[in-house]
Subunit: 889 residues, 2 copies
Amino acid sequence: MTKQWVYRFSEGKKEQKMLLGGKGANLAEMTNLGLPIPPGFTITTESCIHYFDEGRTLWTPILQQIDSALIDLENAVGKSFHDPANPLLVSVRSGAAFSMPGMMDTILNLGLNDASVAGLAEQTQNPTFAFDSYRRFIQMFADVVKSVPRIHFEAILDTVKNENDYQFDNQLSLDDLTALVAQYKAVYQRETGETFPQEPLDQLQQAIQAVFASWNNERAILYRDIHNISHNLGTAVTVQSMVFGNRGNDSGTGVAFTRNPATGEKKLFGEFLMNAQGEDVVAGIRTPLNIDTLEEVMPAVYNEFKNIAEKLEDHYADMQDIEFTIEKGKLYLLQTRNGKRTAAAAVAVAVDLADEGLITKEEAVMRIETGQLDKLLHPTFDTKALDEAAILATGLGASPGAASGHIYFSTADAEAAQKDGLPVILVRRETSPEDLAGMMSSEGILTARGGMTSHAAVVARGLGKCCVAGCTAAVIDEENKTVVIDGVTMHQGDLLSIDGATGRVYAGTIAKQNPTLGGKFSTFMEWVNEMKLLQVKANADSPTDVKQALALGAEGVGLCRTEHMFFHKDRIPVVRQMILSRTLDERKKYLAELLGMQRQDFQEMFALLQDRPMTVRLLDPPLHEFLPTAHADKVALAEAMGTGLAGLEAHIDSLHEVNPMLGHRGCRLAVTYPEIYRMQVRAIIEGAIVASEETGSTITPEIMIPLVCDVDELRYVKAEIVAEIEEVFSEKAATIPYLIGTMIEIPRAAVTSDEIAMEADFFSFGTNDMTQMGFGFSRDDAGKFLQEYEDKGLLKPNPFHTLDVKGIGKLVKLSAKLGRETNPGLVLGVCGEHGGDPESIAFFSSIGLDYVSCSPYRVPIARLAAAQVAIKENKAKMSVQKDAVLSAK
Amino acid sequence: MTKQWVYRFSEGKKEQKMLLGGKGANLAEMTNLGLPIPPGFTITTESCIHYFDEGRTLWTPILQQIDSALIDLENAVGKSFHDPANPLLVSVRSGAAFSMPGMMDTILNLGLNDASVAGLAEQTQNPTFAFDSYRRFIQMFADVVKSVPRIHFEAILDTVKNENDYQFDNQLSLDDLTALVAQYKAVYQRETGETFPQEPLDQLQQAIQAVFASWNNERAILYRDIHNISHNLGTAVTVQSMVFGNRGNDSGTGVAFTRNPATGEKKLFGEFLMNAQGEDVVAGIRTPLNIDTLEEVMPAVYNEFKNIAEKLEDHYADMQDIEFTIEKGKLYLLQTRNGKRTAAAAVAVAVDLADEGLITKEEAVMRIETGQLDKLLHPTFDTKALDEAAILATGLGASPGAASGHIYFSTADAEAAQKDGLPVILVRRETSPEDLAGMMSSEGILTARGGMTSHAAVVARGLGKCCVAGCTAAVIDEENKTVVIDGVTMHQGDLLSIDGATGRVYAGTIAKQNPTLGGKFSTFMEWVNEMKLLQVKANADSPTDVKQALALGAEGVGLCRTEHMFFHKDRIPVVRQMILSRTLDERKKYLAELLGMQRQDFQEMFALLQDRPMTVRLLDPPLHEFLPTAHADKVALAEAMGTGLAGLEAHIDSLHEVNPMLGHRGCRLAVTYPEIYRMQVRAIIEGAIVASEETGSTITPEIMIPLVCDVDELRYVKAEIVAEIEEVFSEKAATIPYLIGTMIEIPRAAVTSDEIAMEADFFSFGTNDMTQMGFGFSRDDAGKFLQEYEDKGLLKPNPFHTLDVKGIGKLVKLSAKLGRETNPGLVLGVCGEHGGDPESIAFFSSIGLDYVSCSPYRVPIARLAAAQVAIKENKAKMSVQKDAVLSAK
């Protein structure tokens, strides 16, 4: 059998996208649905590959099949390339399997020549239309096939319009158009050295070859390289008979969505123009009419279109974006595709389609991209307002949301301004834990240094604050309270806007839209919960965080960072005095003060969570992070402690570390100062006992020891903790259940997890730190060079954003395997930033972890990602089972 | 058959140390050799265990066997516990398998009582001797068996001596002694509530139980805990008939080595005293005589002893340390053991014994502990001078050797003092690469911060300089040029001594002994080379280093750190200007200057090495390490660069990193500034081409890319390097072979080594950095808490000193396995500090690495360790083969 290189629309179907391109496959599908599609045929992508294999010539068998399809087309429409009185006109379009902007697109009106233009004029009784069509065809053909710059044609057109004082193209007279055709042909000859081809078949072959050739033009190759599309796919070419919406007031053209793409409302949404071609709608010369108006103008056509739209939506089981043309009162469809939509509409449509029975709930859940949810959960700038805003610079979109406010350069100034009721943007070179209060007082944070996992970024995401980090174009002078961006100096109090999704920084304020999480969103998230297997918990450090986390659907708290509680204004002085204590007794005195504060927090959090789990991480950062850096703070502290400033500074200096990330922190603090962890554990257990009594729930605190590198180290710290717990139990004459686990974040802990698991009830993978240590990247410093890596195509995606499965993932997988070997009941989770990243969540699910924990604002995204991976895994499992059943037969 | 709880000397042998203890086994062995050993028997270690199992009582079957052995003993010596006229006197000694200071040691003269003391006086015609013996026995028994403090007895003795104006015990008259015996017995009764036991069998049973009980006294348990000795071994008890060296001028006692323990010379070495007991020799009241003198005093005894000594040495195949007693002209041996000796003697004895055919060369090589060699290679303080030196403080013994000198607090001052001919001790809070010149100008380095792998420690070991690091007791004020140690303030120029082996810091100067590596050392090291399988290379950064490395037997250079070349006085300004260049052209200008300097170094090093390999590591540390910190240096640099100081400081500040260890360094610099590596590679290849032509050797430079974390990163950097090499080849119209490899030091590189190996000719494991990142320990900071870990028994041994096999070793092993899977020809080596550590070398050998590289001064140690592990592995292999042969039979 001869290979089929050309498919008539009636011969294809929508599944043949790889062979016929997206356009060709959909036109075939619609044809076979019996819809009014102008007839045509598609030359396959394989023909394109063959075209290159043959040294960029069209192979004879392909040409023969084109001829044959063309004869069928002529018969179908009753017109012919060779009958100037009744000429066949066609459009020629490229159509790859994936939409590719870099390629040649469309030639319309092919088939026109000096003879047939007269025939068309006669046939349509509309010579202006005929010559206008010819003029457009010459220009498109010259542009697309011969790369003649459009400017040559546009210059001529402009001259005519200027001479005649025309504003619009449709003011051109027949004489003008006849003259323009002659001039256009002259330009064509001048620029190409050839006369404009008069033989339609010749026109067609040249056009097809031009489409094929455009597959390998520079822009297309670059586009495929960037988007990881294979260079071996080729493009198809679709040849379709022309219909004209510009043949009078009984003609028209339009585009409509089957549902509202902004809200998802189930109602035709679109616009049309009478007596116009598609490009006129786009050109915006006349204002198109709302699609509803079509019901009044042409009720029969409207109803037909409405029925077709419903039929297409049912058929494709998704909202459609449909292009149509009406020629002389007859409706034709030119294209249908799944319509683009806003995040809110996407959710609403998916829920509605499932409710309507068009798709399953699983399909509905698979329809929403996790990235879309993010937009739903945060305020965004008003799209129209954005158009008028001046972009000053672009940094990293480190925490989504949009914020406008007055800029302040210190925590104190930010707090003061917020108290005065001003919206604040905190601007810092980089943030440190000291800035927490300032960040909480701000709408958004802008930093000059640091990457996606810098302190500012991590904390902002945790707080749900918008953040642009690593905006290197911002030269910040914190002393003098100025920032210079793009040559403009801004002072404290000036207005600035930042978009934490795009990383853009704008001058002044911009109007915002707040998220509205309606009933359909809730329904959707309920379905998500039904399907997901991974537990999704939130990182939460305060009662406020816990409330937020529960509201966003968290199933518990996977990471409560106790140190964040230390930074409250009334606590930090006590913390500082505790750290700088010269004797154990002195330290214990301050720890006793902190005990009450921490116990109260834990009690409230446990009471809010009731029987939902909470994992509390004991003190993790190096102690010097809590110490003052500002001179005034040092003076105040020295006074409070009754020591001289010099002595205090020397003491602080002695705590300085060359590489704090790899320094005296985490459980290392508990080896040297066991009393700190003992105080924290006492606060946790005492808080939990009270909360248990208050709520009547069984509260099981999960105590997590960070930065463990060795089983003996864990055993040592655990013994201290257990001793303290036993003391509390005995003092209170009460016991509650509790778990003790560890973070696995140090590479050595990962490779010795078989030992460590024997002392742990659970592992929580701290993939942030494991990425830092596993790659040897300091997240505070790596921003400087990782950008160059990205520019050079290295280390993509950013391993701080998406878990590096190949390296860090291997360590996590190994650790999970080793841990469960010696402790089969070991509970495994993730509390790094990756816990909120969909790709990473898929990996965590694939290696059998039990839960992920992420910022409250990432919880819905993580839930969706978990549901989607569960659906995929289930599908894969079903398919394996099916194969097994089949092979068993 | 009844279990044997008691072994007569004639029933045992030297292999039964576990059962009979070291002493008992050796006495048995000597008895069976037919040597003159006073007869006796040993109660086994198993009896000791049984003693505890039975609730601290002697089990009847054991008592019965003791009785039986005692009867044989009485028969053998013709004396009896029950014949006061001819009393049997015995010594009772503990004897565990391992020597244990914490335990009860010796009771002499057991068997004496009020009746037999008279019999002994009569029998020996020496009542003074008899009563003196009884007095000593009462005191020893009271002390050892009943824990009566010695002070009670010593007080009485002192009173008598004072009353009579005696200086020495041997001035006591018979009356004095008779009176003392009465008083001692009264003290015994007062302190114990019992009369002194008069029944010899009762004395013996009490003594045996006391020895057994002492196995579990607090000091013994602590000692075993510290030295990792099992608590279940028990101690044996040896009961031996007494001989007396204090029975007149035909009696005596002494101790002698079969060879000189200081030099190894084959000649009896020892001393003796006539008419004395062993403790008199130790007490130092009379000056003992040289063993040679015995030949004149008692020629027959001397000759008998000499023959016995030779026989023992032949039998034990090692130098012996022999205790003997002469009683009434008859020679008895009381103990023999392998003699302790100096490092120099150890080498000489091992070589001699092998030459004499007593041991094989392999055994000779196994005889020397690697730690001993270290002492041979460095100067040490004179032992006697040390006794008089005042220890000011103790830090970490970070680089062996001993140094005295004037203290200076900066590189500039140190250099100036050295030019003036002064020996210098550089005193710094911690060192940085800037201090290199100062370290080179010093005899030794003392730092207050940092651990065994701090900058100071690592560089000092590389330079062979002595270093005490992390001496926290030293409060250093670099500005005012003072250091306060132990309350004493020292100023610039004051004298100080440091011992880099022990970590001790002394006031003033101390006399030194320099190493003398004689002919026997060379012979020994030749044997080592014959046996080892691992290649041993040296880390060397300059032609001087290469000479040193070759002199110490390095088989090439495994790590040449190019950055160390940057710190030379005439180069660092160029390096700084290169780093701070604002444009690529500017940077290239300075790189061109550096090119000439580096090329010259490489050329000289390659010429020295000829066909021996050299691995050159391209620039590794973060650039800011090269930048000035001192104000004066900054001013000078700003002037040289024609920029303002403020601008320069801002630029330097912008290069600051929070965690430089995890920052912009290693091949990351080559991704952002490819021109730096290109310059270095050009210098290497050009230098190698010239050296090849000069020497006629085939020189194959091995170029090493540090800090690789990903194969794409390696591929990118390698492509730049290869392009530069091709340029050089084409310019010079010459080619030479070369290899390109990578350091594996980042955990992710280890776990993705299968990919990385596809782009690498060799891997060199950078176990220092891998330990830092694998554990999450900054070597600059970890000193602060690792000491507490060690104190608490955690993380031993220090993972920076001995490779952590369980964790980091697992990564190295995995990397080696993955790497050879995809690249079977991959060469594997180690260039971290662990490359010079014997335990680590054994591990590297066991996982099949090809070479280790270490500081030149560690090369002999590494060679020895490599030989020893090869011998052990060969033995294990032979034993497996033997088992296979046996099981096949």
